[in-house]
């Protein structure tokens, strides 16, 4: 299960300031950086106004939704902290200040500061996502290379990619547990803290993304393989593997690189499900617990962190793309 199929649209460079023309990569980075700050501001704003739009007492909306079970003292503390008796604009500006200065409030269901909860849990999720991204890239490249080498490979891998991208994490994870944990007893079904407990979650998370990346990479690799420069390389006597490694692979990898931001976002969303399937601690489980309790400070905090991670990864992928392919940025 991944993000919608509609998302993979590689982005090109945007507005051109004449003075920066000689530094396309730097200009691109600055434009992107400004865009990233804008996105984060908008995220905070959107969440703030959505919360105030919930009918009823905003203090209850923040702590467990309408009809909240929170104590009167806790509600009063929230009213104080969020300045709920002040005008909306003042509340909003205070919210912005608190967000920037890292005062993200306390989780009411866990009775702990949101920031320290997130700090504890983010490592596990990032490790899971990065490993899954590496595996997804590897799988996608292997399938792409296989489809170039044989027509049967092309047909099979195109079918496998569709199946992989339609595969929901919750089912794939359950199947892997049934086969490799309860069936064969090779790997632990739930998180034990050891490295082998990571294998099944990483595979579960990687497969759907690999399906999407594979579709994009296969297309660009096939195009590159049919291009004149590949023919020239072959005419010079380069072996098929040589053509792949030295020429066409880079062309296949580039569009996939520009999708890395999207892929990472998809992995973060998948992590919510995967961490629940394998009972792994992490941001996803933290978020899920908070959503079930309607613990808004914690929900907002985790969502904001996920948005920050997405924006940062997109920024990095974009900069790399600009470095490798300056004409896309110019």
């Amino acid at each position: 299960m991944g993000e919608p199929l509609t998302t993979p649209v590689p982005r090109g460079g945007r507005s051109s300031a004449p003075g920066w023309r000689r530094w396309p990569v730097l200009r691109r980075l600055l434009v992107r950086l400004a865009g990233a700050v804008g996105v984060l501001w908008a995220v905070v704003t959107l969440v703030f106004f959505a919360l105030r739009a919930v009918p009823g007492d905003p203090a209850e909306a923040i702590m467990g939704g309408p009809g909240s079970q929170a104590s009167q003292a806790a509600l009063d503390r929230v009213r104080e902290e969020y300045a709920l008796n002040r005008p909306l604009l003042v509340q909003y500006l205070l919210q912005l200040r608190r967000t920037v200065t890292g005062q993200w409030g306390d989780s009411y269901s866990l009775n702990r500061p949101v920031v320290s909860l997130i700090r504890e849990q983010i490592g596990g999720t990032l490790l899971l996502a990065v490993l899954a991204l590496i595996l997804a890239w590897t799988l996608a490249l292997l399938f792409a290379a296989w489809s170039v080498r044989s027509p049967l490979g092309a047909r099979l891998s195109s079918g496998l990619e569709i199946a992989a991208s339609a595969m929901p994490h919750f089912w794939l994870g359950a199947l892997l547990i049934m086969v490799f944990s309860t069936g064969l007893g090779w790997l632990p079904a739930i998180s034990t803290g050891s490295a082998d407990a990571l294998i099944l979650p990483v595979i579960t998370l990687a497969v759907p993304v690999a399906g999407f990346l594979g579709q994009v990479m296969r297309e660009s690799l096939l195009n590159a393989d049919a291009s004149p420069f590949a023919l020239t390389a072959r005419a010079h006597g380069l072996s098929e593997t040589g053509v792949l490694l030295r020429h066409t692979l880079a062309h296949a990898a580039l569009p996939a690189l520009s999708l890395t931001g999207w892929a990472f976002g998809s992995l973060m969303s998948g992590a919510v499900v995967v961490e629940n399937v394998f009972a792994r601690p992490g941001l996803g489980r933290l978020l899920m617990g908070a959503v079930l309790k309607r613990d808004m400070p914690l929900v907002t905090g985790v969502v904001l962190v996920i948005a920050i991670v997405y924006v940062l990864v997109t920024l990095i992928a974009d900069t790399l793309e600009g470095l490798f392919l300056p004409e896309a940025a110019a």
């Binding site: 919608p4 199929l5 865009g35 998809s266 973060m268 629940n276």
Partner: protein, 274 residues
């Protein structure tokens, strides 16, 4: 319409036919579940709990002795409805955003594009969960949440298609002929923008079904006794060691429907490109 009849590789036609058959069977199961099963999806028979798949109980029975096959069949209705309604919500939002972007001037384009960019910063399921946290759990909030989460992706594509239509020869011709903007929008731009997007709808319904099942699996969508695929999977995880069929079959239903919708959508997309 002649392009629908042009010759293609026979394998892909067989594949398309298979997808259409699968989806047709799903629609039939959703509209008229009695065709496939005579049992009741909520019929409890404690004496027949945890029966493995066998004749009479093709997919086995669950912890209360309810027939899993019957529940999967009845679950089709919920899943298809969520998929279709969520996609309709996502598409309507996307058409508004995309058209505002493409036709309402530079300022609106800037604002709408930034809004889409902001929505993109929330990975789909996370956006859906944020909405559920605000609106509370349930089938309808989950449906709307999935619709909202799919909207930004559609909006980006519709904007692109709308811009292509706006710059096309027939749109300029309509301007030259002095047609009113509203008529131009209705008769030329809207159909020419939405027709290529039709394949996306097929793709989107498959995706929406998977996401809705994920929300139910996570416990914020349909509630367990209801026959819904995600909720059934969630109930099955407790018995995964002993009753694999309770997890396997509802999940397989999700995969088969999602894969059929995806493959058909992909095939439609390739045809519309030609």
């Amino acid at each position: 319409m002649s392009r629908w009849l042009t010759w293609r590789h026979p394998w892909s036609r067989v594949g398309d036919l298979l997808c259409v058959l699968v989806l047709g069977a799903c629609v039939l199961a959703a509209v008229w579940p009695g065709v496939f099963t005579s049992l009741h999806p909520l019929g409890v028979h404690p004496a027949q709990a945890f029966l493995p798949p066998q004749w009479g109980h093709l997919f086995g029975t669950d912890e209360s002795g309810r027939d899993v096959f019957t529940r999967v069949i009845y679950g089709t209705r919920t899943s298809l409805r969520i998929g279709a309604v969520a996609t309709a919500i996502g598409m309507s939002l996307a058409v508004v955003l995309g058209f505002v972007s493409a036709f309402a001037g530079k300022v609106s384009d800037f604002l709408a594009s930034r809004l889409v960019e902001v929505l993109f910063a929330f990975p789909g399921l996370v956006l859906a969960l944020l909405f559920v946290a605000l609106a509370g759990p349930g089938v309808w909030p989950a449906t709307i949440a999935v619709g909202l989460a799919t909207a930004p992706g559609y909006a980006r594509i519709i904007r692109g298609q709308a811009l292509i239509a706006a710059r096309s020869g027939y749109a300029r011709q309509s301007v030259l002929l002095g047609q009113r903007p509203a008529a131009r929008l209705w008769h030329h731009l809207l159909p020419n923008t939405l027709w290529p997007v039709l394949s996306l709808v097929t793709l989107g319904i498959g995706q929406a079904i998977v996401w809705a099942a994920a929300l139910s699996y996570l416990g914020v969508g349909a509630v367990p006794p209801a026959p819904e695929w995600g909720a059934m999977l969630n109930a099955g995880r407790t018995y995964m060691d002993t009753a694999w069929w309770m997890t396997f079959f509802p999940g397989a239903a999700v995969v088969v429907v999602a894969a059929a919708a995806t493959a058909l959508g992909r095939s439609l997309q390739q045809r519309s490109r030609k």
